[in-house]
Amino acid sequence: MKLLEYQGKHLFERYGIPIPRGRVVDSEEEIKDIPLPCVIKAQVTVGGRGKAGLIKEARSEEEARRVATDLLGKRLKDIPVRKLLVEEKVEIDKEIYLSFSIDTSKRAYLLMANSLGGVDIESIPDEKIVKEWINPLIGLQPFNVRRVVERLNVAQRKEIYDIISGMYRIFKDYDCELVEINPLALTREGKLIALDSKIIVNDDALFRHPDLVEEDEGIDPIEREAKQKGIAFVRLDGNIGVIANGAGLTMATLDALKNYGGDAGVFLDLGGTDDVEKVKQAFQLMKKAKPKVILLNLFGGITKCDTVAKGVELVISEEGIECPIVARIKGVNEEEAREILKNAGIEAVENLHEAARLATEFAKR
């Protein structure tokens, strides 16, 4: 779960990391007694707010209200702007990048820092990034922080030390995949202030953090529904709806389509299930995404082929499926599944090549 900037900053505040004075509003009427001049920032978790013009400044309350009205009507990558963070404008002398994340290959926590903050860390050459790996069994030690502070070349050593320590505590206490400050501003007055926050909490650990409430960001309602039902559903750019069991197999199906010139519009992983009802739900979700053709690729194991076939049959008989379905069936009970699908008017092929070719053909009609 990605926290919105203001949610992250609330955590920063609780952990002693300085943030600008300011507050969150969801309408222009709330803009009163704000620090001036101010910065008004759209609260969305997708990146690229700055370039999209969703971060603006204002010098008077009147201007701030005008900016707010304007921003609250905008969208970024289809996500509507519903909240704004109004903050004092800070005069910046220097910008620093700081983050805690995970190095999956070293199986360690990774502390990164750079004194050229403010830009995307990806655009900074690797040798200019200070990296420090932390063993999870022993945790962050003072020397790790010292090594980083030393290389940032900033006089406020004690303050940075405390900020890094606070970030680490958030990282651990909240099961984070990422805690990032970019930039940490050094102001003209020599103060350090976190101008932005980026925090990603591990979804699998959310049960330990009932205090974190996901903001309704107005994301794709089908993806939301799929998430609630425990189905892996990803919307893509093409027009072929792919359903398979298992993430690897679903990806391999997407790849096979591409080999024949077809483009998937939905990635839907049934997962390991032997429940007709769940199969039905998956096809109902798929229907909502309105693909031109559905490609079903099944390797039966725990998820038995006939169970899936029954689910498909049920959806067809109860509510119909408008687009054609190409089915490739293998594994446990494949014969029974073929029979059921045949009766429902769907001819199953045995070969992924053939299925991909056929689906692409339908999609291009």
Binding site: N202, A232, V234, G248, L254, N259, F299, K330
Partner: protein, 288 residues
């Protein structure tokens, strides 16, 4: 020989009394695996398909000589179950459970290493050495005894590939499901090393996915350390960046972990990479 599990494997199933536990106990027994014990706190004294159930791992190990554990408990209890198994003297732990909190997994992985315990997974289908033992949830019928070592980050895709290998006459020494999480107990490099040392294994098949750099690291390792032929399939060539493709680990993030980079690295290391899952058998035929 085979790797990780073999005829000496004596399996304890943590979470044996659940729906999955009961089902897979039966399947593993059918495979010929020595399933000697199960553990579910509070259910001690029960039996599942003739396998005795205990309240605690220590008790189960002491009474049955179990040396390998299969973890099927819910995600939020997994860390506790795994540490219990490690402290009770279990030497190999196969973790099927998915959605284990990431910070739990990373601590468990290090603790297992400290205690010199081999941990496979989490979020994996298990390990199977045909003719010897299966510790996992793979369908039984796909395997055939033979000399191909399979290591995979995927689930059903592995089944599909193993099935096609078996049909084409390429049996397996051992098939290892590494798991789909960003951090796992074993990565490709460790398993490649085991297969290289295993006399029964003549060729190695790697099934990779987008996300992380495990395949790139494997490619580096293969160059210098692997003398046996290696074949690979990488899923996710057409996956868009920043979207999790089902698995927590299957994500192209910040430009890293693309299928392209993995395939290139592997090819540079002399690995034959298939375009379709069913092409692997053909590649083996051509190259061995």
């Amino acid at each position: 020989m085979a790797i990780i599990v073999d005829e000496k494997t004596r399996v304890l199933i943590q979470g044996i009394t659940g729906h999955q536990g009961t089902f897979h106990t039966k399947e593993m027994l059918r495979f010929g695996t020595k399933v000697v014990a199960g553990v579910t706190p509070g259910k001690g004294g029960a039996e599942v398909h003739g396998v005795p159930v205990f309240n605690e791992v220590k008790e189960a190990v002491d009474e049955t000589g179990a040396n390998t554990s299969l973890v099927l408990v819910p995600a939020r209890f997994a860390k506790d179950a795994i540490i219990e198994a490690i402290d009770a003297g279990i030497r190999t732990i196969v973790v099927i459970t998915e959605h284990i909190p990431f910070h739990d997994t990373i601590e468990i992985v290090h603790y297992a290493r400290y205690k010199k315990v081999t941990m496979v997974g989490p979020n994996c289908p298990g390990v199977a050495s045909p003719g010897k033992a299966k510790v996992g949830i793979f369908p039984n019928h796909i395997f055939r005894e033979g000399n191909i070592g399979v290591a995979s980050r995927s689930g059903t895709l592995t089944y599909e590939i193993v099935d096609s290998l078996s049909r084409e006459g390429f049996g397996q020494s051992t098939c290892v499901g590494l798991g789909g999480d960003p951090v796992t107990g074993l990565n490709f490099v460790e398993v490649l090393e085991m297969f290289e040392r295993d006399e029964e294994t003549r060729a190695i098949v790697m099934v990779g996915e987008i996300g992380g750099v495990a395949e790139e690291e494997a490619a580096e390792y293969i160059k210098d350390h692997i003398s046996k032929p290696v074949f690979a399939f990488i899923a996710g060539r057409t996956a868009p960046p920043e979207k999790r493709m089902g698995h927590a680990g299957a994500i192209i993030s910040r430009g890293r972990g693309t299928a392209k980079s993995k395939i290139e690295a592997l090819r540079k290391a002399g690995v034959a990479v298939a375009e379709f899952p069913d092409e692997i058998a053909k590649l083996i035929k051509e190259n061995t």
